[in-house]
């Protein structure tokens, strides 16, 4: 896929090592962004409403720190706002938005030390336990919460690159080409990372009762 026709980067002002593969360019989000670029504030509000949750969850699960996620969230939208005049609809808006988010996360991880992140993990895990005391819940609910906690723990235990491709697929809805573009790797690399992530998650959940009982 790397030999796909080179497209001009839609990410003005942002360093992009690879070129985006050919894809459907015009979408509703891109239209809204173009309207906002031309001064329509309501278009931005619509755009924001559509993507605020997915972006926030992506950032929260990537950095696993609510304060840091809030800062990054503002940073991403701030960059989008300040670069709006140079926006051109050459790719899906979601790809554009999460490419900015990816860059913000990279900057964040560079600033933070690994020690600081592991402490945050501990705090988040403790908050989860306090929020859902098992002795007040019925068995089914308890096993569901245990599965949920195991899922969070397994997700947090993934290497950052594998966690990112999983979140980009789940939260942003990006396909493998787009994930590869956003994370600046080859499509096969992105696919491989996603396979590893899925395998690790399944492996971590297979012993949970709720997971075994799930017939879907």
């Amino acid at each position: 896929m790397d030999d796909a026709p080179a497209a001009r980067s839609p990410f003005n002002g942002i360093a992009v090592a690879r070129t985006l593969p050919a894809m459907q360019i015009a979408d509703d989000d891109a239209t809204l962004m173009l309207r906002y670029r031309d001064g329509d504030l309501q278009a931005f509000e619509s755009l924001y409403q559509r993507h605020r949750g997915a972006l926030y969850r992506y950032l929260l699960r990537q950095c696993r720190d609510r304060d840091a996620a809030a800062d990054l969230f503002q940073d991403v939208w701030g960059r989008l706002i300040s670069n709006r005049k140079r926006y051109e609809a050459r790719a899906r808006f979601t790809t554009y938005l999460f490419h900015i988010a990816h860059n913000c996360c990279i900057d964040y991880f560079r600033r933070r030390s690994a020690h600081r992140v592991s402490m945050t993990d501990a705090v988040e895990d403790r908050e989860e336990l306090l929020a859902s005391p098992g002795h007040e819940r019925p068995d089914a609910e308890l096993s569901r919460l245990q599965l949920e906690r195991a899922f969070r723990a397994a997700l947090a235990g993934l290497p950052p690159e594998q966690r990112e491709v999983f979140l980009l697929h789940e939260e942003a809805g990006l396909n493998l080409d787009e994930i590869a573009y956003v994370t600046r790797v080859g499509m096969e690399t992105a696919k491989s990372r996603l396979r590893y992530a899925l395998a690790k998650l399944r492996s971590a959940l297979k012993d949970e009762r709720a997971w075994r009982d799930d017939t879907r």
């Binding site: 906002y36 605020r52 701030g78 300040s82 569901r144 949920e148 799930d214």
Partner: protein
């Protein structure tokens, strides 16, 4: 077989039909707090309110071509001044002075000056007569060198200050008349014409001037009367 299952699961996952995706979506749909929403939306509003640097006005689009045209005109003018004008200008200052002397406006004195120099009027008239038959510019190289220098020295003051203050003007006219007389006496002339002029002076009653001219004639042509008959005035 195991690989085939994995591939099938992976394809199902990519199509969002896997159990894992369902379970992930049940993790919780955290959303940004309201303060964060307000902060972002106010950031967007503020960015819209603060105007971007103004796009250049329409006349600014013409600035570059106009500046270019002005530069071309300026360069063209300078080239004209440097290259073309010197060719149009007189070759030497002496030639310019001669041009000035030949123009009738610079030579002819005002009427009032003529009135104040009535006594020397015949001489001036003679000078004019002489100047009409005087050698042209092309004949000038035939004149003796010292005569040319004297003529240039006499001509130049009148070109530098042709019309000074009024009291000086009368003196200037008189001196020009005297210069004309002197020119009459020193310029190389045809002996017959000169003698005819002297005879004319004598007949008009200017015997002193005629005698003076005859004296100069004898000085210029000492042997003339040894071969020709002298005029009546000379006798």
């Amino acid at each position: 077989m195991n690989h085939q299952n994995e591939d099938a699961e992976f394809e199902a996952y990519l199509r969002r039909r896997s159990r894992l995706s369902h379970r992930y979506r049940e993790l919780g749909r955290e959303a940004p707090p309201g303060e964060l929403d307000n902060a972002v939306l106010s950031m967007a509003r503020e960015a819209q309110r603060i105007r971007e640097p103004q796009a250049p006005e329409s006349y600014m689009e013409w600035m570059a071509p106009v500046a270019f045209a002005a530069t071309v005109v300026l360069v063209f003018s300078v080239v004209i001044q440097i290259v073309v004008r010197p060719q149009l200008a007189p070759a030497t200052p002496v030639a310019a002075a001669n041009e000035t002397m030949r123009s009738p406006q610079s030579v002819a004195p005002p009427v009032s000056e003529l009135a104040s120099t009535r006594t020397s009027e015949p001489a001036v008239r003679n000078a004019r007569v002489q100047s009409s038959s005087a050698p042209t510019a092309s004949d000038e190289p035939q004149m003796p060198v010292e005569v040319q220098e004297q003529a240039a020295a006499r001509k130049s003051p009148s070109t530098v200050a042709p019309t000074a203050a009024r009291p000086a003007a009368a003196f200037g006219a008189a001196s020009r008349a005297a210069a004309a007389d002197e020119h009459l006496s020193t310029a190389p002339r045809d002996p017959k014409t000169w003698l005819a002029d002297i005879e004319r002076l004598r007949r008009s009653g200017q015997t002193a001037a005629a005698a003076e001219q005859l004296k100069l004639f004898r000085k210029q042509f000492p042997d003339y009367f040894s071969t020709h008959r002298p005029p009546a005035s000379a006798e």
